[in-house]
């Protein structure tokens, strides 16, 4: 009984850890640039496929399987640099446009990235095999949990704390918060907004691609994973509140754990339950649970 419960809970928290990374990317971009990035799920998929390739390259060249997490994370972070290209090449043209057009531009990215992934990696699912079992299994209250999942949860927590530190204690964080709060005032005080936007968008992209890379050892990369995850990340930010990091954290936990519970109790409910909560939150408290402070 307890073992079962722990299993469900750990599954949910693992999923929440990944969701948090993607949702945090969505939040930081929305907080500063006021763009709701539909393509954050596509970045996640891109990170996942790159992760598989990076690990494949690493092991094929004699890298010790136990260290696979290093190329995995590096690959995930490196492909996040595509954010620079996207921001400079596309998004910068639409900052002063109606948000409908910004939304549609990110939808264009969703379409392009989906097929770019299919062109590069094919349509069949790819995975890293059972590599993650290298780290063994841990026994928690009678349940067996892969140690890899615990590592990811810890990494996600560390990143959450890191973002918190970045936003509250560093100069760049202060600039981000100022820009989120009042763009014109920040610019008047000498902040080069173009530079901020590039960095913020790339940070958001990297969070998404890293999330995708980290999830991949525990599952397989499929070309639809991006457009499926975006609606979950969307649920997270709506529940937590658009633009709020604390909101992303709480929202990810709510969505991850509830989904995991629903799957084991009444599978038909799975995502239905999440969307119903999203609707309830939007109607009852459209700003979300933590939607007061931006970024």
């Amino acid at each position: 009984m307890t073992a079962n419960l722990v299993n469900i809970l750990m599954g949910g928290v693992f999923h929440a850890a990944i969701l948090f990374l993607v949702a945090a990317g969505l939040q930081v971009v929305f907080g500063v640039q006021k763009i709701f990035n539909l393509a954050c799920g596509s970045f996640y998929a891109l990170g996942a496929y790159t992760g598989v390739s990076a690990v494949g390259y690493f092991t094929a060249h004699g890298g010790p399987p136990a260290l696979f997490i290093i190329p995995l994370a590096l690959g995930g972070l490196a492909v996040g640099l595509v954010g620079v290209v996207v921001e400079r090449g596309l998004l910068r043209f639409v900052y002063d446009r109606d948000e409908t057009f910004q939304l549609l531009l990110t939808f264009a990215l969703v379409l392009m990235l989906e097929d770019l992934i299919r062109m590069t990696w094919g349509t069949a699912p790819v995975s890293t095999g059972g590599l993650y079992l290298n780290y063994g299994q841990a026994r928690i209250l009678g349940a067996t949990v892969p140690v890899y999942n615990l590592i990811v949860i810890a990494a996600s927590l560390a990143i959450a704390l890191g973002i918190g530190w970045l936003l509250s204690r560093t100069v760049f964080g202060r600039i981000i918060r100022a820009a989120a709060d009042n763009r014109e005032m920040a610019e008047a005080l000498g902040v080069d907004m173009r530079w901020v936007y590039v960095r913020v968008f790339t940070l958001g992209t990297m969070l998404g691609t890293l999330g995708g890379a980290l999830v991949i050892p525990a599952t397989a990369a499929m070309s639809e994973m991006g457009i499926e995850l975006i609606v979950e990340a969307f649920a997270v930010v709506v529940i937590g509140g658009l633009g709020s990091m604390r909101g992303a954290f709480v929202g990810a936990l709510v969505v991850g754990v509830l989904r995991s519970v629903a799957i084991s109790v009444y599978p038909e409910l799975e995502m239905l339950l999440i969307y119903l909560i999203v609707i309830a939150v939007l109607i009852w408290r459209p700003r979300g649970l933590f939607g007061t402070a931006a970024a």
Binding site: R97, F101, L111, L272
Partner: protein, 319 residues
């Protein structure tokens, strides 16, 4: 005026197409006409009222599933009954959904419609026994004008009677929408789009009018969805998926949301372009994503905006 001339030429072309054009292109016209009906409605919301729905595929799904349930399970085969039923089903769902959604604008409206669309999608996918799950449901060939057209093969039926039936529906839908946008009601919607505060102070009940627009556009999407189901012969949950909603907004933008006929041109261009691209290059989304990005950045007026050079520039900047 040029417009009546163009319209009569287009009308003649449509009437003569099944006789003159190769069968394949005639069958491509069927989804075009179905989407045409959907987009006329969607643009009442998008172009005329200024609300962008990212969940409108919900109502296409409702229309299509209404048709499938009626023909396969309830033995109702007459298209003249299926279309009103689809419209009614869409209206019944749109009434509460719309009432909740129109309380919000801009991104929150988009998010709420997306969430409702995904609720319906998940329902279709997960409640296998009712909906057939991911395999969906068959849509049997409907009777038209009381006749089964049993002497016609599937293709002959589609490019013959069904083509003209769809055309008639599209023409009726277009005439009706033309009346709607030219009516005082349509003018109120435009005022709401351009200046909701002013509309309110002039005595227009903004949420109520937005709700009406939502209902009308949902009914159009329901009818279009039912029309769309017959050529495919099968309905499945992806009809209600959020990317489908995105695609129909794309079609409106491709044609031009600020013009009455823009969405129809958009549906036409989307379907024939998709077909052309797919025949030479399997990754049509890559090309279409690039086209969409180009339109958003450089030509927000869409194809209509490119044609109509002398018209007033499209207003896209943030108010």
């Amino acid at each position: 005026m040029r417009t009546p001339v163009v319209l009569s030429l287009v009308g003649i072309a449509f009437l003569g197409l099944p006789v003159l054009a190769p069968t394949y292109y005639v069958t491509l016209m069927l989804p075009f006409m179905a989407y045409g009906v959907v987009l006329l409605g969607l643009n009442l919301l998008f172009g005329y009222t200024g609300l962008v729905s990212f969940g409108h595929a919900l109502f296409i799904g409702i229309g299509a599933y209404t048709g499938a349930v009626l023909t396969t399970h309830l033995g109702v085969r007459h298209m003249e009954l299926i279309l009103p039923a689809a419209a009614l089903a869409a209206a019944v769902v749109a009434a509460p959904v719309g009432a909740l959604c129109v309380r919000y604008v801009k991104i929150y409206f988009g998010m709420l419609t997306l969430a409702f669309g995904m609720v319906f999608y998940t329902f279709l996918l997960k409640f296998y026994r009712l909906t057939g799950g991911d395999e969906g449901m068959r849509m049997l060939r409907p009777y038209l004008l009381g006749s089964e057209w049993s002497g016609f093969s599937k293709t002959a039926y589609l490019i013959g009677p069904y083509y003209y039936f769809s055309l008639a529906v599209l023409v009726l839908a277009t005439l009706l929408m033309w009346r709607i946008v030219r009516s005082p009601f349509g003018l109120c919607l435009k005022t709401i789009r351009d200046n909701p505060l002013k509309a309110e102070s002039l005595g227009v009940s903004v949420p109520r009018y937005r709700w009406y627009a939502f209902m009308i556009s949902a009914v159009y999407a329901g009818v279009g969805g039912a029309l769309l189901a017959t050529p495919t012969g099968n309905v499945d949950p992806t009809l209600a998926y959020w990317t489908h909603s995105g695609n129909i907004v794309f079609m409106v933008l491709l044609g031009g949301f600020s013009s009455f006929f823009g969405p129809l041109l958009g549906a036409f261009a989307f379907i024939f372009l998709q077909d052309t691209v797919m025949s030479v290059f399997p990754y049509w989304r890559l090309i279409f994503g690039a086209v969409l990005a180009f339109i958003v950045i450089f030509a927000p007026g869409g194809l209509m905006g490119l044609f109509a050079r002398r018209r007033r520039p499209v207003e896209v900047s943030r108010a």
